[in-house]
Symmetry: C2
Subunit: 272 residues, 2 copies
């Protein structure tokens, strides 16, 4: 693990046979709430320490109670230690209440290709990062954007800079966002960073004019490959908004154009 | 719950404060192995009984050890009982070993639309069921097809009937399958049936010529709406096959054309 700000902010310290302590760092927050992908990354660190595996393969997190900043306890139950895949159940506790529960399968990401390699489409074409919009242009303060560099393709951004340089909402009717993302301190993304990166863009439904807070109920991240150094490309999109709920899928590609992660979350439409 | 064969085969009986008994029925199997979506359906029944909620919202299952047929124990831990969403951790045990672990969030599916309704695309156009292929045409015996009616759009099927009426493999190079699915006994699909339906088609990678057994490591099913009576439309597809792994996504639409479920699984490419 490199000594990046992300590594430090997701570090866990073993305190017992199956217990870890962690510090929920307010740097990785949106609107005063810890980012969900950041919390999953902390849980993944504890899972990896327990199984001894190098990489997360699948992280399925169900968010049960809003977590706060500061100290937290992470409990890991080893469900199965396998040759190829090990599975743990990991719970984030604060003040004696579980806040987030995850099943995490770990193992070793493939080092190279295999006899059968196939992709449905290449990484999306994007304007270069310096022609993309810094995505701090949002409805509320996004501390996360001081530690993560995000640049949105202007064609997909739900915001624009108005004539007097003021931020304006500009929903374009299509809940699909594309852009670039990387750690803000210049470090290289590791596989655990992908859990955060899957959950770091503005909600897709902003482009439908739904600018409220959108609490995540469940987020599953599948890691497909170890990312190469440099910018990640990201694309988020929704299949359906119905009855007050929406799904948001994300794909991440590394700087070589390889698909490195896929995720989907179920979230509630904002009300305020 | 209606008295369908599916309801009977997924029934659970409370045996303790947080314990249920279940019977893994060999009718719901493929190649002598219980179907993964069928097992998730059993776990969902136990979750719903524990929370008292009417509907599954998200089921995230990690498959850790191959399960067998016959008696099983289902343990439910109530993580959070909420007004809108309750979350449980549910484990399937056989012979004192956990076989499948799931986090399941339950609640009440929306009854109708809300102010904001949006879908990325309509249900796919398909030939009518009687012009589609019965999908028992596979590499091994699929008992499941006696209890589930499945019809594949011939344009997407990895099989065809050869000149002498014999089954031939015919991978078309595109890991996308479309078709119809419904309970085989003429009963109507309930929300729990969607977990099975998400995992019932031949693997997408058959269309890439990879005809081996493809063990599922993780499967998450998101239920979006209560299905109307009648046939479900289904579409499965893969984004990436790499390093011996593939993802398989599924969407299900009911007979009114409404998207009722989405799923994604991570699986290993078959070796034999």
């Amino acid at each position: 693990m490199t000594d990046s700000q992300f590594a430090r902010s997701t570090a866990v310290t073993r305190t017992g046979e199956s217990s870890y302590s962690a510090q929920i760092d307010d740097a990785w927050s949106i609107g005063g709430v810890p980012n969900g992908g950041y919390l999953l990354a902390i849980l993944a660190r504890a899972a990896l320490d327990t199984t001894g595996d190098p990489d997360p393969l699948v992280i399925s997190g169900h968010f049960t109670r809003p977590p706060g900043f500061g100290p937290a306890r992470v409990e890991v139950e080893l469900v199965k230690r396998g040759r190829q895949v090990s599975t743990t159940r990991v719970t984030l506790w604060q003040e004696d209440k579980p806040r987030l529960d995850a099943l995490i399968s770990t193992g070793r990401l493939p080092d190279g290709g295999s006899a059968l390699e196939w992709n449905d489409r290449p990484a999306p074409e994007l304007p270069p990062p310096d022609q993309c919009t810094r995505s701090e242009h949002r409805a509320f303060h996004v501390a996360l954007l001081d530690v993560v560099e995000e640049r949105l393709d202007p064609a997909t951004s739900p915001f624009r800079i108005g004539p007097e340089g003021k931020l304006e909402t500009a929903p374009n009717g299509d809940p699909t966002l594309r852009g670039w993302i990387r750690p803000g301190d210049g470090s290289d993304p590791d596989p655990v960073f992908l859990a955060l990166a899957c959950d770091a863009l503005p909600p897709t439904v902003f482009n439908l004019g739904a600018f409220g807070w959108t609490p995540t109920v469940e987020l599953t991240v599948i890691v497909r490959a170890r990312p190469a150094a440099g910018w990640l490309r990201t694309e988020t999109s929704s299949a359906s908004v119905t009855g007050g709920w929406f799904d948001e899928g994300c794909r991440l590609w590394d700087s070589t154009g390889r698909l490195v992660a896929q995720s989907r979350q179920l979230a509630l439409l904002g009300t305020g």
